[in-house]
Symmetry: C3
Subunit: 340 residues, 3 copies
């Protein structure tokens, strides 16, 4: 990769202000940048950091002037930066190859241009699509299907019968399709309920390190297209997460709960079973959503038990004033005593 | 597997109402069922789903009538379904075999009918009982003992000296017997306290994906018979979890805490160190139990810090009425002002 | 290992009271000890447990007398015990060796005395220092550097370009240097922000089982010397954790937050993005620290949203008295009604 600022601007359909011949060989933050690194600024707050950077080329909001820099203006500098990076420094996919230590069942069907790393196990009946990358120590259980251009980092486990769409990225240690947590108590012990359903993951999903997503019990657990799931998240059996939803780290979603499209869930949120978060709902970090609760379209909830953000704030403000309230009651009581 | 409804009823010690010759080849939910799938209904709430199902044979509560279905009545349809599934569609244990890539120390003792998958490492002094299944990438540290009919899914790690009973099932990514988190601060740094104890796991325990259970420091961490632990749970050093207790996902149990028998712990609960939950105690999801706290036999607690459920509800109700209470105080103050 | 109590006392620069010729062959808790096990007592509370122990030699606080035991007195018995254990029963590092199944890139540089276990993958450009132990199934991504005397337990994953200092211990299932969780929403979808930064881990750090630490996006995620991180912890991109800080299990630290030196974080704490915990700050278990919050040097916070411990206690006390307060208001209202 080596391009000029002018070439980049042209690719982005944008224009340069300043010297367009500056060479770009990398990307960086303002502080760590060298002269040929591209940087961006999404708010005038960062003007000083950017001005003092060694970087010579900056993507900035329209209307920004910075002395001695070549600037490329955008109405969304961060997004423009992302697009620039994809062009300047695209992620290096390893060349197609199957490592001789990979154990691939005779019945598995792999596209000719996949990468399969060392010590991978792919069981019978699996399919892996074009350009997909399966790194070291991945385990792909029987009858699983992985689409095109997927990327499984080292040490991802798929139980039998998982289906992944295209361009799905899964980070190390994630476990997909494990048994759900379902028991029937009877005759003095817990009986394991069958966990015989499946797991379907749509296109463009990303799943974080050490996250666990259980297969359905008799249904299918579904992660729809474009969903982004952070590290150490727990997704229970029969859950549906709607398209383009975002789930931050260490959140847990219990069995049979449903998230609509474009739902945002903060970190360490607990969603009990059979909940429904409608499209565009937002659950703040550490919120606790009790069994069967419905969060309406676009509603923002907070706290445990989760309630609308404004109500949470109001209650918290009242709680903070309780000492004062008690004092006011004491004053009234004293006046009353005096009056009697 | 192919049985008739009549054969199934006979196996269950039950009776059919309807055509007993219906062939059963699988299990399902009402919506996903085909004509030869067995389904169940545990509440009249689901009558419509069940009536509309393509399934022809249903396990139902006594006294239920459903047109055009063969029914098998039970006083616990869900449990009867579980038993039916175990007979109709028992989990397929892989045939006994040791994969040539498994590295098994010369000193290890394996029953002749075990299954050991590819790329398994079993260190010296280990014992593995009859019919146990050790899937790919499992690591069994030296001197560990695994009983009969256990099932370790791919990528389970046992540190040295772990003891598992019979019929223990461990899901992918679980780490058993790791070092506890114990340090002594002195001379300006943290000194690691020895984590030299053991881990004992009883019969019929199930442990979820990516769960971590630490060995004892100088004691033994104990998970008693029949305990069920969900995904991403943390169990600290020297903890005891009593028989048939159930611990939901992402809960953490700190060092030296003790759970009695039949304790139920919801998801994301935090139990600090040296707590005691007596037999049958229940901790609701996200509860926080402070250091040294005792939860009495059968008590249900909620919230952080954990308190009895009724008290939690009462406090929350009061909290919700605080705005109103403040208003009432303001009214009293206004009357007082007027009176003066 | 076999030493006498007298030899141990000499090594510790301490003195024995009682028979110095007692043989010491192990360490234990009072209850599990045999006659030749060393035990310790850090508080008179445990005097009975210790007196009844079969152990003959005990490390105790100065001024303690125990009949029929050989005692070694210390002003910090627990720390003295740790030092004694390191001398009596040092952890057995495996002998230097590289297992034939380890796949080590031609370009990697390993000190001659490292241990590399079976089925390890070490990619190009990696360096591993003297006496380091890399156990089975570890994956060391390209250009990673591991210092001297490190210990990676089985199944640790390092993404490319991670730097570990000396004497770093990492437990099974930990994922270091995974991609951070950063997206830019635009044109109807989430665009992945580049996660191209690094991860630097200082000397003497310990990292728990199944913990995930993300690399920086454009910066470096930094874990400074002496930090101890428990199991199942999430550390986001661009985070800094200052020297000798301690982070308990299941805590999550979001992107770009900074912990100073000697910070203590309890279990299941949630620290949102761009927070700052100054040196010596303490966050109690399950605390929730909102975006951008600064916790001052040495301050102890509790609850969600996190507030100073005294304030948390005061508010909780008021909350517990709300029923009573409401009653008092009702009494005042009744008196008022009567008065009118």
């Amino acid at each position: 990769m080596t391009h000029t600022a002018g070439e980049l601007a042209k690719y982005l359909g944008a224009q340069t202000d300043g010297d367009p011949s500056i060479q770009l060989t990398g990307i960086s933050s303002p502080e760590r940048a060298g002269p040929s690194d591209l940087i961006y600024m999404d708010s005038p707050r960062h003007l000083e950091r950017v001005s003092q950077s060694a970087a010579q080329c900056v993507i900035v909001p329209f209307g920004t002037q910075i002395a001695r820099k070549t600037i490329i203006a955008s109405d969304n500098p961060k997004l423009t930066f992302v697009k620039a990076v994809q062009w300047l420094a695209p992620r290096r996919r390893p060349n197609p190859a199957v490592h001789p230590t990979a154990l691939i069942s005779a019945g598995a069907k792999l596209a000719p241009d996949v990468f399969v790393g060392p010590y991978v196990v792919i069981e019978q009946g699996c399919q892996i699509g074009s350009e997909s990358v399966i790194e070291a120590f991945c385990f792909i259980g029987r009858d699983s299907r992985i689409g095109a251009a997927c990327w499984l980092h080292p040490r991802v486990t798929l139980y039998a019968g998982c289906h992944l769409g295209n361009r799905v990225e899964v980070h190390s240690g994630a476990v997909l399709g494990s048994d759900g947590f379902g028991y029937v108590f009877g005759e003095g012990k817990q009986w394991k309920f069958p966990q015989a359903g499946g797991l379907d993951i749509g296109d463009d999903v990303e799943i974080g390190a050490n996250t666990a997503i259980d297969r359905g019990s008799l249904e299918i657990t579904r992660i729809e297209a474009g969903v982004k799931i952070d590290n150490l998240v727990q997704v229970g059996h029969n859950v549906t997460i709607g398209a383009h939803s975002v789930v931050a780290a260490q959140t847990g979603i219990s069995g049979s709960s449903t998230l609509g499209k474009g739902v945002t869930v903060g970190g360490q949120v607990g969603i009990a079973d059979h909940c429904k978060l409608e499209d565009g709902a937002v659950a703040g970090a550490q919120a606790g959503i009790p069994t069967g609760k419905i969060i309406r379209r676009g509603q923002i909830v907070w706290g445990t038990p989760a309630r609308p953000l404004e109500r949470f704030k109001e209650q918290y403000a009242h709680l903070s004033r309780l000492a004062e309230l008690e004092k006011r009651v004491r004053t009234l009581e004293a006046l009353q005593d005096k009056a009697e």
